[in-house]
Symmetry: C2
Subunit: 364 residues, 2 copies
DNA sequence: GCTTTGTTAGAAACTGGTTACTCAGCCCGG
DNA sequence: CCGGGCTGAGTAACCAGTTTCTAACAAAGC
């Protein structure tokens, strides 16, 4: 067993020009041989350690040598392998984000906020979409985590027991719109209850006492939260009547509810989200109902188009970008080994636009 | 220099339970030691090679041994390091996408399409946003490529010469909305000219002869393409008068243009994109102008809300998801070493909704 | 019974970096 | 003039997998 005649030496001796050899390994290894640190070291007449030091800006290399190494690297078009680097350093400088649905503006903005904040520290973002598929979500999370140094799980649908069992393998982990009581997993969420309360207070101040709720999908936890908050808010006000209509989450769902809204006799509509409110606005318009003259409508989320509906939609705004940014802050803290800081329950901001107004005379 | 007493053996002997040792390396290495293939091999009483074979489902392992290995792996909560695996295999099973702006629906849908298609082959997606910053874009591209097996560059702003120089280092590479003539880099793009031509033909068929264009940002290549196509389409029709108004890309830009549109005397508006058209719709409404009764308005892009404006917007739809999906097909082919298939110039589909109608009587 | 063949599993080289340790050489003080 | 301290660079171990080559062993054939 000779230790001197290793394969690499033979290889570089046998094929200095690299012809059209089919490539021993997988498809990624195309025809570009991509210089290695060893090749550069050889060319510069130094050891691999020195090349590494030069590439990482270590000051303990003589200027003349460093220049020679840099010249060789330049000459060979050398680019250190980030995979090898990750292996040696035990760090990938990548974090993962898992979202249920990339077409949801909420997650799009979280993605933006997180990506931007992470980029500031030289971290890149791996994105995966679970397509609301609970079974896949857990597998996806584990796999994504294995490729990166940390994970952000947005609005996970995974059952609590499973999430709890997984949380160790997923750490460093940050949860969005989901908490895990008793664990030390940082969690950022939106205080939907407070947003609903603000909307109700606003409607009450305009004199509304009969409210109809256009409910979101039954399976949605955010719908459950909003609905519960609405019930609580109405229960607290003795003269508040709440009607609940099963509706959905889309424009068409809201649009189809217009007649039922009228039949309810309510003077104000609280929609599960802005899309539903938007649809209701459209349906009511077609029925000749003036908003806010005859009926007030409020949405939730402040999607980008809410300010452009006719009339512009009163809604509760949630700091979606901020959610992503703060998720990064938590993750960064965890990556550094420190505590992640307090959980935050973001307060939605009530945006009063033109779709809500005083109760019509004689209908209070 | 003994070759037998290697550090790992000493380590595992000295700290079998792993106390609260601070961890020699970076922050990623938290307190969870994360079983390695060596540890599993030891526990199962086999060699690392055998564990590797079992984990990869090689059939050349006796059933009894395989079971023992699996049990050991289970026991130790073993998860093979994907980084080490990537290094050994020369493949990361990750591709990167670089977009100028994550808030643009176009890129959001490309992201979704690409992510979904790649996931089907077990590939994950790394996302980076260049924020329209040309200088950063090239650096980002190189870096993103180094972390993955392939790259999709969406609407890159990089100058042609630089892109050409880079294309070797970035391969396998797929370009979206950008071509690189003479290279063999696959390119998928949208035939904006055809979309504009379809809109103009539609307007012509309704009797419109005086058209006003609400131009996008001067720096935008897609604006240049749309504008040029519009000029060409109008030049081809002898009785077509085209007015061009500098406008922008946002709702507010379109909104602010309403008066200028009226002054132009045109009977139809072609907007740079749907947002501008949407703003124009709103501005015209405020001026008491009926659409399409007094004036027709057409957008471009078919953003998700275009069907919900009042009136619903006539526009040209581009298959954004499909762009992502096909980008994956090209990349996948390149990863396999094959040719990437033909470039595609996607044809926008004209969607006639209610914002366009016949020329008002007496104004043709 | 001995060779041939086929299977299985292990040893060791390999992926491409980083870094602890070591040691040669130089400068300087005693 | 010699030993100690400092500097700079090389050696080799290390990260955690995969894979080639090889050898041991069993079964089959002659």
């Amino acid at each position: 067993m000779s230790l001197t005649g290793d394969r690499r030496a033979e290889q570089s001796a046998e094929e200095p020009t690299d012809g059209s050899r089919p490539g021993r390994r997988g498809p990624a290894r195309s025809d570009r041989p991509s210089a290695t640190i060893g090749r550069v070291a050889e060319a510069a007449g130094v050891s691999r350690a020195t090349v590494s030091r030069v590439m990482n800006g270590s000051p303990t290399v003589a200027a003349e040598l460093a220049a020679r190494v840099r010249a060789a690297a330049e000459e060979l078009n050398y680019e250190p392998s980030l995979v090898a680097r990750s292996l040696a350093l035990g760090r990938t400088s990548t974090v993962s984000l898992i979202v249920p649905d990339l077409s949801n503006p909420m997650f799009q903005d979280v993605l933006r906020g997180l990506s931007h904040a992470a980029a500031g520290r030289g971290y890149r973002l791996l994105v995966a979409e679970s397509n609301e598929n609970v079974a896949e979500e857990a597998i996806l999370a584990v796999e994504a985590r294995r490729r990166s140094d940390g994970l952000v799980l947005a609005s996970p649908r995974v059952p609590e027991a499973e999430l709890r069992a997984l949380s160790d393998r997923l750490a460093p982990l940050v949860l969005l719109n989901r908490d895990l009581p008793g664990s030390n997993v940082p969690s950022l969420s939106v205080d939907y209850a407070a947003g609903i309360a603000a909307i109700v207070a606003h409607l009450r101040s305009l004199g509304h006492r009969r409210i109809v709720y256009l409910a979101g999908p039954a399976a949605s936890t955010s719908n459950r939260e909003r609905q519960a908050a609405l019930r609580a808010a109405c229960a607290a006000e003795p003269v508040c009547a709440l009607t609940e209509l099963p509706c959905g989450a889309t424009f068409d769902d809201g649009h189809a509810s217009a007649r039922a809204v009228l039949r309810s006799g309510a003077t104000a509509v609280v929609a599960f989200n802005d899309m539903v409110a938007f649809g209701a606005l459209s349906g009511l318009h077609e029925l000749g109902i003036g908003v806010p003259r005859d009926l007030s409508v409020a949405g939730f989320d402040d999607i980008p188009f809410a300010r452009y509906t006719t009339p512009p939609l009163t809604t509760a705004s949630i700091p979606r970008n901020e959610l992503g940014r703060q998720a990064w802050d938590r993750l960064w803290a965890l990556l550094g080994g420190g505590p992640a800081g307090h959980d935050v329950h973001f307060q939605p901001r009530l945006l009063v636009r033109d779709s809500t107004g005083p109760v019509p005379a004689g209908r209070g």
